[in-house]
């Protein structure tokens, strides 16, 4: 019993960790932070292994929340540094000219962010997103549609700004 559970955990780790860590790296642009977030998601999963019915969804939702926390933390730190330094006019944080995925996702309200993260980045079908978020499939589709419209508007504005 225990051995089979151990084997299942090892298989899950081998199948999902590289993908989850890669997804995290895409969002945080830092290998070490990506590993930390992926590891923390797995730790939380295995700490309540018996209570989780859908491990993959749990991992991605947990990782999405951790990524969001990481963004908030870095944003706070950045603001603090900006306030502390006298020469505030020094270049704004090294943001790419193109709107990065991170900033686009960050600009979304929370209700739309999780479906976007799960559906597009975690590559989960709408049915699974619906189960994970507790929303109906039609609601998930509507949320994704609204999120895409917001992203398009954001992208258009950003492109106009660069011209």
């Amino acid at each position: 019993m225990k051995r089979s559970r151990e084997r299942a955990a090892a298989e899950l780790f081998a199948a999902l960790y590289p993908r989850l860590a890669g997804w995290c790296r895409r969002l945080v642009d830092d290998d070490e932070t990506a590993h930390e977030i992926a590891s923390e998601a797995f730790t939380r999963l295995w700490a309540r292994w018996t209570a989780v019915a859908e491990p993959r969804g749990f991992l991605y939702v947990t990782a999405a929340n951790l990524v969001r926390d990481h963004w908030r933390k870095t944003e706070r730190e950045r603001n603090a540094v900006r306030r502390a330094t006298v020469e505030a006019a020094v270049s704004p944080p090294a943001e790419p000219a193109d709107p990065s995925v991170r900033l686009l996702v960050q600009s979304l309200p929370e209700r739309l962010r999780v479906p976007i993260l799960l559906h597009y980045y975690a590559d989960m079908p709408i049915r699974e997103v619906s189960v994970l978020t507790g929303r109906r499939e039609g609601t998930v589709k509507a949320d994704l549609h609204a999120a895409r419209e917001l992203l398009r508007a954001h992208l258009r504005r950003s492109l106009d700004h660069t011209r």
Binding site: A9, A10, F13, Y17, P18, R19, A21, G22, W23, C24, R25, R26, D31, A34, H35, A38, S39, F42, T43, R44, L45, W46, A47, R48, W49, P99, V101, L104, I116, H119, Y120, Y121, D123, P125, I126, G138, K141, A142, L144, H145, A146, R148, L151, R152, L155, L159
Partner: protein, 172 residues
């Protein structure tokens, strides 16, 4: 008009020329775990599980202890009253004194015979020695008991009053 739900037949469908397709592309990069990461995560999860179990057990024990401490307090407020009442009579209880509730007359009852020997009861009840029948009425000052003592007295005294008139007649 395109409704939001129509956008999805089987999943995300973005036009190839849609700028969002570049942004929302599915992730293709993988990041392999560093060596020993699996064991490290398993150990951390086991430690966390243990901590949570310990916290649960601790909370349950605290609740049990709190209940055990609180429960005896309620009967404790009732018990002190009940023992004091029955404990009081036994030390005073004497077979001879049971008819006379007051404690002071009790020693006085045998006292009359030994009245001279124990001065203490005499000092407390100076009226007692004056009349031999006095100890009985003196503890009960109430008027209700007085009549009971009066009929008792006539039993002894009737001999005297009749004697007095008879003597008077005889003397005449």
């Amino acid at each position: 008009m395109t409704t939001p739900a129509d956008d999805f037949d089987d999943g995300p469908d973005l036009a190839p020329d849609d700028p969002l397709a570049v942004i929302l592309r599915p992730p293709s990069d993988y990041l392999g775990p560093p060596a020993g990461r699996y064991e490290q995560i398993r150990r951390g999860a086991a430690r966390r599980r243990l901590l949570r179990t310990a916290a649960g057990v601790g909370a349950a024990c605290a609740v049990v202890v709190a209940v055990a401490l609180v429960l005896p307090l309620r009967p404790a407020s009732e018990t002190p009253v009940s023992p004091t009442v029955p404990l009081a009579p036994p030390p005073v209880s004497g077979p001879s004194t049971s008819p006379t509730p007051p404690a002071t007359p009790t020693p006085a009852t045998p006292g009359p015979t030994e009245g001279a020997r124990t001065p203490v009861p005499e000092a407390s009840t100076p009226a007692g020695p004056t009349g031999t029948a006095a100890p009985r009425p003196s503890p009960s000052d109430s008027a209700s008991t007085a009549p009971t003592a009066v009929p008792a007295a006539p039993s002894a005294e009737p001999s005297t009053p009749p004697l007095t008139p008879s003597e008077a007649t005889t003397s005449r």
